[in-house]
């Protein structure tokens, strides 16, 4: 089977972690890593692995567009707005790991099938990737009136971009809870914990149902099934306790341990973003290959 060629745009922590994950993919072939600093860790490592490296940013890639059909953008929201237009004009499919939200929101375990033909999708936020599947899993059993998520991440795993623009996290995640999780109203809270050794990402999902819980076991089964689905691309995704029930209220506790590829294991918040984007690209690639076969 022919693999689909992909490139990573951005040679920072996220881009480098993506590179290590993509090396393992049986459907995607990483050909190129694009950065702007030839001395960055990411570009150095890419050269060692024998990938094509470009240190002149998007411009350099557009001179050799045949290198990839799918591009992962791990730069910044501001840069992505520019990249999105250029890559669309070049006919590339783009996975946006920044908060730019140019394309539709996707959580692979929930709504990837709706966006197989999109040319740009956005991965929402780490908190969204971790919690929206659970909101969706509850909502498919009983209508969720209100869902509130609390993401606690280690201080070390929150980069300067997230810190300087923390409202972007809370507001984007809340939107994702409503649009993809299908809660009538969503709210998100983020807490940074500086403890040493760093804590693993934890998320608590508090939900109010429209009515009293009808069948606790059905909700638990739905949540467990969803957790297994997320684990297929984020192996360190775990439910911490049996969900709590109280009237029309449900609380679910999860933790996300990273795969420890380039980023340390405690930063499950970063890992779930890179893992989810690889999962989406793999689904795209399968879709593309199946279309080609049909023709």
């Amino acid at each position: 089977m022919n693999k689909v060629k992909v490139a990573v745009l951005g040679s920072g922590n996220i881009g480098t972690d993506l590179m290590l994950k993509l090396r393992r993919s049986e459907i995607l072939e990483l050909t190129t890593v694009i950065g702007i600093d030839p001395n960055s860790d990411g570009l150095k490592m890419a050269r060692e692995f024998g990938f094509e490296t470009i240190d002149t940013g998007i411009k350099g890639f557009l001179e050799k567009p045949e290198l990839a059909d799918i591009v992962f953008d791990a730069t910044s929201a501001k840069a992505h707005i520019r990249h999105a237009k250029l890559l669309r004009d070049a006919g590339k499919k783009v996975l946006d790991l920044t908060p730019a939200a140019v394309g539709p929101f996707v959580v692979p375990s929930v709504n990837i099938s709706e966006h197989l033909d999109a040319d740009n999708i956005n991965l929402i936020t780490c908190g969204g990737q971790a919690t929206i599947p659970i909101v969706h899993a509850i909502n498919r059993v009983q209508q969720v009136e209100y869902a509130e998520i609390v993401a606690t991440i280690s201080s070390k795993s929150a980069g300067p971009g997230t810190r300087a623009n923390i409202d972007e996290f809370t507001q984007t995640t809340a939107r994702g809870i409503e649009k993809i999780g299908r809660a009538k109203k969503g709210k998100a809270i983020i807490i940074l914990n500086p403890a040493e050794p760093p804590i693993i990402m934890r998320d608590t999902i508090h939900v109010l149902l429209e009515d009293q819980v009808v069948d606790e076991e059905r909700i638990i089964t739905s949540v467990n099934e969803m957790a297994v689905q997320v684990q297929s691309y984020v192996p360190g995704y775990r439910l911490r306790q049996r969900p709590f029930f109280d009237g029309n209220r449900v609380t679910v506790f999860i933790e996300v341990e990273g795969a420890g590829d380039y980023l340390p294991k405690y930063s499950g918040n970063l890992d779930i973003m890179t893992a989810a984007s690889v999962k989406v690209a793999e689904e795209w690639a399968k879709h593309k290959i199946s279309k080609v076969t049909l023709i």
Binding site: R163, N165, F169, T170, T204, Q241
Partner: protein, 336 residues
């Protein structure tokens, strides 16, 4: 009424006290307290959900009354006092700060964990743009050494804060530690330095006096100790003590006593005292608003609330992590 003040007091009962009454403030209560405090010439009155703007949540407790209504009501009855609001980036957002300002808030206090000041630049700059007096509020100050606290306070100063507070959210600091921290900030900053105490170890007054001695000119108090945990420095007592020390607050002592006795005491579900649980908050260094949540988890899981709080202290849980209370209680119950 302009008066000379050596120390500027911010009354926090209508924000920090929200924790003690499970966020059940009514418009009538807030109006009565704010009006009284204004007449007693209190310069700043903070009104918000206990966890700041946007704090109304399943995680911290839903507000009975929308805080924006409370802010608007308070702002409409004060003549001289300024209404302050608290905002914790990660919980509250900039649109909420704008709304509060449009309803009459004049001061914004932007709070972060003591080591995480760099999540506050957007909110501090927005507050300044809105023309609000702006305070950086470094919570859980006992969890970092003075050098770290100074580094973080300087960040807030660089973002534009007019004042930085040492916030003893757990009521865990001892007087010598308060002195060291306030002195560190006074030496390093050019802006005002403030102090916010909790009385969990019965040290709120001693710590506040230590802070003032080292040059702190912005001080928080809660009337009748209406604050989280065992409450804060009791405002009416503080202004009396400062008066005896010859330190002017400009606040009318007699009026404060009357508000405490006649308006605030009836709001409290029970008198504020240092119970075994609030003592453990200070002893273990745990965020004061965990108190009622830990008591509920204790009932639910049949675990001593002190064991839950001590375990949370061991895990270095920070402000806002109320979900950890249930999680830890369930874990302790499973282990039994």
């Amino acid at each position: 009424m302009e008066s000379h003040r050596d120390v500027l007091i911010t009354e926090v009962a209508l924000r920090d006290g929200s924790h003690a009454i499970r966020h059940q403030f009514t418009v009538d209560q807030v109006v009565a307290v704010a009006k009284g405090l204004d007449e007693a010439n209190v310069p700043y009155i903070e009104v918000s959900h206990g966890d700041g703007l946007g704090g109304s949540s399943l995680q911290y407790g839903l507000s009975l009354t929308n805080e924006m209504e409370l802010i608007e009501a308070a702002a409409s009855v004060v003549k001289n006092a300024k209404i302050a609001v608290l905002l914790l980036p990660g919980i509250g957002t900039m649109p909420e700060l704008k709304e509060a300002a449009s309803l009459g808030a004049k001061m914004a206090r932007i709070a972060t964990h003591v080591t995480e000041a760099d999540v506050s630049p957007q909110h501090i700059s927005l507050a300044k743009e809105l023309g609000l007096e702006t305070v950086g509020f470094l919570m859980m100050s006992h969890m970092a050494p003075t050098a770290k606290l100074v580094e973080q306070a300087k960040l807030m100063e660089s973002y534009g804060a007019d004042t930085v507070y040492v916030v003893d959210s757990a009521g865990a600091l001892l007087p010598y530690q308060v002195k060291e921290r306030i002195r560190g900030l006074k030496d390093a900053l050019t802006i005002n330095v403030g102090f916010h105490a909790h009385n969990n170890l019965s040290l709120a007054m001693a710590n506040t006096l230590a802070a003032i001695e080292e040059g702190s000119t912005r001080i928080d108090g809660s009337i009748r100790c209406l604050g989280a945990g065992a409450g804060n420095t009791q405002t009416e007592v503080l202004v009396s003590v400062l008066d005896k020390l010859g330190i002017q607050t400009g606040i009318d002592i007699y009026k404060m006593m009357d508000i405490a006795e006649n308006i605030v005491a009836p709001i409290l579900e029970k008198p504020q005292e240092i119970t075994k649980d609030s003592l453990v908050l200070g002893y273990a260094g745990v965020y004061s608003s965990f108190l009622l949540h830990a008591q509920r988890a204790s009932e639910r899981f049949g675990i001593d609330s002190r064991d839950i709080l001590i375990e949370l202290g061991k895990r270095n849980v920070v402000g806002g992590q109320e979900d950890m209370i249930l999680d830890v209680a369930a874990e302790l119950a499973n282990a039994k």
